[in-house]
Symmetry: none
Subunit: 401 residues, 2 copies
Amino acid sequence: MDNLEIIKEIAISSSTKIVLLVIDGLGGLPNPETGKTELETANTPNLDRLAAKGICGLADPVAPGITPGSAPGHLALFGYDPVSFNIGRGVLEAIGIDFDLQSEDVAARGNFCTVDEMGLVNDRRAGRLSNEKCIELCRLLDGRLIDGVKIFVSPVREHRFAAVFRGESLALEVSNSDPLRTGIAPKSITALNSEANKLASVANEFIAQAKATLAEHYPANMVLLRGFSRDPRLPTMNEIYKLKPAAIASYPMYRGLAKLAGMEILRTGATIEDEFMTLKQSYANYDFFFLHIKPADNAGEDGDFDRRVRIFEQIDNALPELMRLEPDVIVVTGDHSTPATLKGHSWHPVPVLLYSKWCRPDRVSEFSEPACVSGGLGRFPATQIMPLAMANALKLTKFGA
Amino acid sequence: MDNLEIIKEIAISSSTKIVLLVIDGLGGLPNPETGKTELETANTPNLDRLAAKGICGLADPVAPGITPGSAPGHLALFGYDPVSFNIGRGVLEAIGIDFDLQSEDVAARGNFCTVDEMGLVNDRRAGRLSNEKCIELCRLLDGRLIDGVKIFVSPVREHRFAAVFRGESLALEVSNSDPLRTGIAPKSITALNSEANKLASVANEFIAQAKATLAEHYPANMVLLRGFSRDPRLPTMNEIYKLKPAAIASYPMYRGLAKLAGMEILRTGATIEDEFMTLKQSYANYDFFFLHIKPADNAGEDGDFDRRVRIFEQIDNALPELMRLEPDVIVVTGDHSTPATLKGHSWHPVPVLLYSKWCRPDRVSEFSEPACVSGGLGRFPATQIMPLAMANALKLTKFGA
C-alpha cells in the first residue's frame, strides 16, 4: 500500500480550505557579493510573519541531487510520486500550449527540420524558425483526416509543434521518427505491438503528406515526431483527497498539469495581483486552490538576481489579500529552485512554509533557505506536502485503530 | 525505476572533478570527562573553514540504528543500496587480502578448526593460530587442482583464510561446511541446485584432502568453509555516473571494494601524507577520487580517544594540500562511526561536509557531530551523497521536462 492509497482511505471531505501557493523556481543561491540568497535579500515582512506563526522546512521534489523539470516538480507538489508518474513528451507539449487534450488522444512532440536531397536530416531544428513561420507552417498541416484519424498540428515555439492524433482504437506503443541526430534519414515509425499498427501507419502517412506539403518551404522541408503519449490518467485529486480543487495559473503548462490532476482551471489575468483577485472571487466555490506564480522562475533563468528579489517582494505585498480570506491551511513553496547564479533549474531543496491553526510552530521566524534548514518540517520529499496540508485542514482521519 | 537508474539516465561526462575523502570510522561519541567527541576535541581549523563555506549534514550508511560493516558502509558512499547489493563473505575475505579475484571465481571464507577423534568440531578457531602458522598451513593447501578446478588458499589472519575456486561452469549455490557451533561434525557441502553439483563435489574433495594433510597439525587439524560467493558485478561507477574514477587506499579491503565498483586502483604509500601525494600526482588523470584514510577507525576499535583526536588533526593538516588542487566538489565523510568509548563500529550517523561553488551554504561553521545536526543536508541516507556530489559538479542534467 503506497502513500496515495493510505490517503485515499483516510481522506474525508469537509468545509476547510487549503491554498497551495507555488512560487515557480522559489529556491535560490547566495549572491557572491552579499552571501545572501534572493529570498534572504528580499524584504518580505508578511512571509516572515507567516513563517513565525507556521512551520517551515526544505523539500526535495524528486530526490536530493536531482534537478526536476516543471512536470515532476508539480506532480510531487500535488502528491504524486514524480518517478512513477512520468508524463510523456508529447502530452507535455500539448498541455503546454493549452491544447484541450482528450483522454484518448495521442500527442507527439514535433520538430520542423531540414533534409537534404538524399533525404538525410542535416538540421533537426530547421535553423530555428521564427514563431511566425512555425504558426504558418502548422496551419498548412493542421486538421488532416487520415484513415478516420484527425491530426491537429499546433505551433509551440520556433521549430517546435505538437501533433495530436484523435481517432478510435489508437494504441500508442510506436517508435519515434526523430533520429535525434543528423546525417541519417528520419526513421519510419514502427508499431511496438500489433494494436499500435494503426497509429504507426497513420503517423507515417501524415509524415509523407507533410513532406510533400513542405517541399517548397526549405529549410523547414520535413517533420520529425517523437514522444507519442497520452493523458497519463492520474487518479484525480478528488479521488485521492476528496477535494474540490481549482487551479489559478497564467501559464498554459501549469494549467495543463493541474488539469491532468483533475483540477478545475479558473480563468485568470496574467499578473500576480490578477491571480490573487481570481482566488478571492472563486474562494467560495472550492476547497483547494493551486495558485501558480511564474515570473520568479523566468528571472532565475535569465540570471536576474534583482528581479527575483523584486518579484518575491511583490508576492509578499499581495499576501495580506490571501490572509484576509483566512484559509485553514496555507502552503507557500516552489516546484524547484532556479538560482539566478545558475540561470536554470537546480537540485537545491525548496523552502516550504505551512501555516494552519493546527500546525506545530517551530522557531523559524524568517522565510529563507538558511532559516528553513532549522524548520520543524525538516528536509523531506515534496510528495509529503499534500498529506501535511490535508492533515492540517483536519481532512484526514486516523490510520489504523 | 530506482535512484541509480535515474542517475544513469541523466549523468553526463564533464571536466569537473570530485574528491570523496573517506575518514574510516569518522563519527564518535563524547568523552565522558569533557562532553566532547573526538572531532569536537580535535583542533581542525581547515575542516572548520571548509564547513563554513560548504554544507553539512549527518548520513546513515544503512538505516538509523543499523551498525554497518565496512562493505555496506562503503557501498552506500559509492551510491549503491547496501541492502540490495550485499557482498558475500567469501568475496570480502578475498578482496580484503588483495586477492586478484576474477569475475568467474568462487570465494569462500575458511577457518582452521579442531576436530576430536570422533570428527566433531571442538574449537571452530583452532585456538586462534598465530599469523605465521596460518601462512604455513595455507602453503600446504594452496594451488591444488581438483576435477579441473584450481583452488587458491590464502592466509588472512590467525585461523582465517580465503579459499578461491577457479574453473569452468562453477555455479555457487552450495551450503556451508561450517556448522557455526561446536559438538557436531562439519557438514557435507551440498548443491542447492543441479548446476552447483560440480562446486559441491570439488569443495568436499578439497576438504577431505585438507583433513588428510592437516592430520598431523593439531590443533589445526581441519578446515571449515562458508560464504561461497562471487564478484557481485555491480554496475560500475562509469556505467552509472559516466565518471573515470580512481581509488587511493592503503588497506586492501577498501581497494577491493573500490575495484568492485569499477574504480582504478592507484598505487600509494601507507601514510596520510602519502595518500594526499598520490592524489596530487594522479589528479590530472581522473575526474573522481575516492581517498580512504584508515587509522581513525583502528584507534576507535582500540578505544583510544586521544589517538583519534590526533589523527583528525593530522588529516586537517593535510587538507590544504587537497584544497590547492581546487576540486570542483569535495566531500568529507566516513563509512560509519567508530566511537572510542564503544571500541567498535556503531550505528551513529556520520558527519558529512560537501563543498562546491554551487552548494547552498548553511550556518554550520565547525565540522563536528553536534554542528552537523543543524546542517543544510539534514539527516539523510549515505546513498544520496554521490547524487549530491554529481549535481554539485554539474554532472547531472534535468529529470523530466
